[in-house]
């Protein structure tokens, strides 16, 4: 049984991966992630890419909601803004991905700054509606600014390439997507340990108190919006190179809601939780689908009931799960970990 781990410096106490066991697991995880594209088939790779992109976008929203306590219903629009910027630069100007993706992130950041302004005056549900307007406005622009965005038909984007090597399959683009996502997850973990990260949490827990201890509310909130939309913008850029086609219908309000669900199911304010939430929201429907496939073999006429039932089961799972663990999957994971590290002395 692990009874504790000995630290001699503040630095080691603040380290991201604090114990040898964590570091070992991280190394195993990194190795598995590297080997995955060589072992997995098309379908699993597609899901992996999709989950990495969604996780990156959801992490942005978690910084805003979980860290800073602000809400946004326009997250998909920022992702769309990043995606369109990347797509336009890549398809019309022929910029390489290492310029077009950061440019998408930058424009999304700028837009986040503007949309974040009302957050100083309004909170909660009112802010949710204010950010909803961003969703509506951006969607309208994507649809109607035809000369730039290609209108309702959207744009086709050439695949990303590194020194002439085209990242045109899910297996190849995987490395780009996962690398960018991992770097941004490390950034977010570090952000939380920084002065700004602590300011975010202070604003979330009690904004008046935060202001009294010297946190500039306006700057902190705006910064949070900027970081959040930057993440969405980068996720959008990756998404463009992943799907190679972009239309206004790719970033609907329902995607914003999906991000919200990922963050809440995963665990508000937890970087790890964002990963768990994404896995849950993406894989559970696919697992249920596989389940209906098995049931269909036994009972072929049942498909008309089974397919809709899947959505009902998925919805129920989320509800049940939030009732029993409001802190999200991250907390479930922590409990499981505690159980094993304290076993057999505690249950």
């Amino acid at each position: 049984m692990l009874i504790g781990n000995y630290k001699e410096t503040y630095a080691s106490d603040e380290a991201l991966f604090r114990t040898p066991a964590t570091r070992a697991w991280m190394a195993v995880g990194a190795l598995a992630a590297l080997l995955f594209p060589f072992l997995a088939g098309d379908y699993l790779l597609y899901l992996a890419d999709l989950m990495a992109i969604l996780a990156l976008g959801a992490l942005g929203l978690n910084i805003l909601i979980g860290f800073t306590g602000q809400i946004s219903l326009g997250h998909a629009a920022f992702m769309g803004l990043g995606a369109y910027t990347t797509a336009i630069l890549a398809s019309r100007l022929g910029l390489p991905f290492w310029l077009s993706i950061p440019a998408g992130g930058a424009l999304a950041t700028a837009a986040g700054m503007v949309v974040g302004v009302p957050s100083l005056r309004i909170k909660g549900l009112y802010l949710a509606i204010a950010t909803l307007s961003a969703q509506v406005i951006f969607e309208w622009v994507f649809t109607n600014w035809t000369s730039v965005t290609g209108g309702i038909r959207g744009l086709n984007v050439p695949p990303a390439s590194v020194a002439g090597f085209r990242l045109d399959t899910d297996g190849r683009i995987y490395f780009l997507i996962v690398a960018v996502t991992v770097v941004h997850f490390l950034l977010a973990s570090n952000l939380r340990r920084s002065r700004w990260g602590r300011a975010f949490v202070a604003v979330r827990d009690r904004d008046v108190a935060a202001e009294i201890v010297g946190v500039n509310l306006f700057r902190t909130k705006i910064l949070s919006f900027m970081v959040s939309s930057y993440y969405a913008g980068i996720a959008g850029g990756l998404w463009v190179y992943f799907t190679k086609v972009i239309t206004p219908e790719s970033f609907p309000l329902s995607l914003s809601i999906q991000f919200l669900a990922i963050v809440i199911v995963g665990g508000l304010g937890s970087v790890k939780g964002t990963v768990y939430g994404t896995i849950f929201m993406t894989l559970v429907p696919e697992v249920l689908k596989a389940g209906t496939g098995v049931a269909r073999a036994v009972w072929p006429d049942a498909q008309s009931y089974l397919f809709p039932l899947r959505d009902v089961v998925f919805g129920l799972l989320i509800v049940v799960f939030l009732i029993f663990e409001p802190h999200g999957l991250a907390e479930v994971w922590n409990r499981v970990k505690r159980f094993f590290s304290l076993w057999p002395f505690a249950k």
Binding site: Y43, N144, I152, T243, K244, T247, E249, K289, R310, D311
Partner: protein, 393 residues
């Protein structure tokens, strides 16, 4: 003893049956995969499309329409969500490696195109009538199972031009600001000008908009002879027709495929009288088409309780017909059944008689630009032909 004779008789009968059909066992399997929107907001059509496609392929096996080949149909639900649909597509490709695929939407067609063209190379059709997918240059493996929305507008405008009086006919386009709504409009403007039809009004609304007062006032101002709807299923077509009747306008209303099913007559009630539109296929109750009679007979056999099948069912059935015809042609040419060969025979299909399920089919640019104008008979609750099959130009 009697048991023994009976057993022997059964066994010999089974052996005979096995001997009688050696070809069946040796049949090569042609796998057709499908990602169908069985749940989600397109389920109303997806379930029927799936049933139609599956039924036709089963019938093709029963009747041995392609000798020496047996169709194996595998489908999954894709929930009318592009990302799920792409995952579904890849899953079916990896698991069953079909040579033919069916997809749920325009979105899927666009999203899968790069990989369809470079890696998968299977014949692909979908529930979409988008003219964007009917381009052999950018979508060499895709085809539209019928006319595109542009073709449907072409058919309607042709009908209007043929039935005009002394004055130049005035038409208004009423469409939603979605891909579905806007798809045929540029072509429709051009075609109207060619046919000497004046487009007096273009009204754009949200999909499924309900408050149509200001739009109806615009119609009142310009008083068009015809209004053509695009990009809606039911709402707001019903509301617009009712409101214009209240204003006493004599305008005639027309729709394209998705707003030409029985549902709209049921919703409109007596107001449906005179509602018109284009349908690429014959209706399930069509008495003159042998192809539709075969469809009814098959339904009578497998699900006798069903008295009506919607247009989407016929859409799926017709797609099955094209699949089977393409396979038949490839097999007849003694070529291997691959996506490339299947796509190559598409444009060899000329004046193909589908038994009245559609007009005579000629594939040009991977689409069959033919449709028929129907008029609603509110009393009987059916659509009746108002023209013969019209080919779009």
């Amino acid at each position: 003893m009697r048991h023994w004779t009976r057993l022997a008789a059964t066994l010999s009968a089974a052996a005979l049956a096995a001997l009688a059909s050696p070809a069946r066992a040796a049949d090569e399997v042609v796998t057709v995969g499908a990602c169908q929107p069985i749940t989600g907001r397109f389920a109303f059509a997806g379930i029927a499309i799936n049933a139609g496609l599956q039924d036709y392929l089963t019938l093709a096996n029963e009747k041995q329409l392609v000798p020496g080949r047996r169709f194996n149909y595998v489908y999954e639900d894709s929930g009318y969500d592009t990302e799920k649909a792409v995952a579904c597509f890849k899953q079916i490709m990896a698991k069953h490696s079909p040579v033919i695929m069916y997809g749920e939407s325009t979105g899927l067609g666009k999203a899968i195109a790069p990989e369809l063209n470079s890696r998968y190379k299977v014949l692909y059709a979908s529930a979409s009538f988008s003219s964007e997918l009917a381009d052999p240059k950018t979508h060499p493996y895709s085809f539209i199972s019928g006319p595109t929305y542009s073709d449907m507008f072409g058919v309607l405008l042709e009908y209007i031009a043929r039935n005009k009086g002394a004055a130049k006919p005035k038409v208004a386009f009423f469409y939603s600001d979605t891909e579905f709504g806007k798809d045929p409009i540029p072509y429709a403007r051009k075609r109207a000008a060619e046919l000497g039809i004046e487009v007096v009004n273009e009204i754009v609304t949200k999909a499924g908009a309900v408050d149509v007062t200001s739009e109806v006032l615009q119609l009142k101002k310009t008083n068009p002879d015809y209004v053509i709807f695009q990009g809606y299923i039911l709402s707001p077509i019903v509301e617009v027709i009712r409101a214009t009747k209240d204003f006493g306008l004599k305008t005639r209303f027309m729709g394209t495929f998705w707003s030409m099913d029985k549902g709209i007559i049921d919703k409109l009630g007596p107001d449906a009288e005179g509602y018109m539109g284009v349908n690429p296929y014959a209706y399930f109750y069509d008495e003159s088409a042998p192809g539709i009679a075969a469809m009814r007979a098959y339904n009578q056999k497998v699900r006798p309780e069903v008295k009506y099948q919607p247009n989407s069912y016929i859409q799926g059935w017709f797609t099955g017909m094209v699949y089977v015809e393409a396979v038949r042609r490839v097999v007849a040419a003694r070529k291997p059944v691959t996506g490339e060969n299947l796509a190559a025979v598409l444009d060899t299909i000329k004046d193909w008689d589908t038994g009245g399920v559609t007009g005579k089919v000629t594939f040009v640019n991977h689409k069959a630009g033919v449709g028929r104008v129907y008029r609603a008979n509110a009393q009987k609750g059916v659509f009746e032909p108002a023209s013969d099959w019209i080919y779009s130009k």
